[in-house]
Amino acid sequence: MQGYEVQPKRTQSYVDEAFRLLLEKPGVEEVLIMNHSGVPVKTSMSRQDALQHACLYDNLREKTQAFLQKLEPQQNLAMLRVRTRLHEVLITPDGKITMLVVQNAKDKYLKSLD
């Protein structure tokens, strides 16, 4: 499924270009782009998965931003990376959109020590 696409004139070419470039990177499994309210705009996963990911990770991002605001000096979030056993999720706020990338992060460092 191509994803939750709004009418083409509302999807910026920037979003399309970013989506395309992200998908081309090695190791990337899924890409999701949300608008400022957390609604998935362009995604490579199924609709239900996209909504679930977007909702949960947007929530986490807001909490992280709140944490950063409480520090001194106050700072804005540039990137949030959640690494799990199976994969890694990168959340990047970028102006009015938020990009979420699920990638397969292979542990190359430990392997090279063997």
């Binding site: 679930q52 949960l56 909490k63 992280t64 520090l71 700072q75 804005n76 979030l77 799990t84 199976l86």
Partner: protein, 117 residues
């Protein structure tokens, strides 16, 4: 391995609060690499060891421990077999690394240098 060595090589500055690192080569190794502060939090959320002042340590621990719990819940919600191992929070001037284990949370805070391109 590293957590046990940290505990053994710890020299207590004062007998009351066993919280500061003094002359610990493991921690100083981090500091050479640009790490600014290291905080270790146990599973309950209490700071165990720290290189920052007590007040700031409590502030960090109070914020970061719920964040770690929330991210674990998020990951488990999406995939029950999955679990968080690492959290990296990056802002304009600082980066916070959190390594999550079942027993401990190790937090490293780095100050980023401004690069002029």
């Amino acid at each position: 391995m590293s957590i046990d060595i940290k505990r053994r090589s710890l020299k207590k500055r004062n007998s009351g609060g066993a919280k500061s690192y003094e002359g610990d080569s493991f921690v100083q190794n981090f500091e050479k690499r640009g790490a600014r502060e290291i905080i270790i939090i146990d599973a309950a959320g209490k700071p165990v060891r720290s290189t920052v002042s007590q007040r700031r340590t409590y502030m960090y621990a109070a914020q970061l421990q719920p964040l770690a719990k929330m991210s674990r819940n998020v990951v488990r919600d999406l995939d029950p077999a999955n679990d968080v191992t690492f959290l990296r929070i990056r802002s304009d001037s600082h980066e916070v690394h959190m390594s999550l284990n079942p027993e401990f949370i190790v937090v490293v805070i780095q100050k980023l240098k401004i690069r002029k391109h």
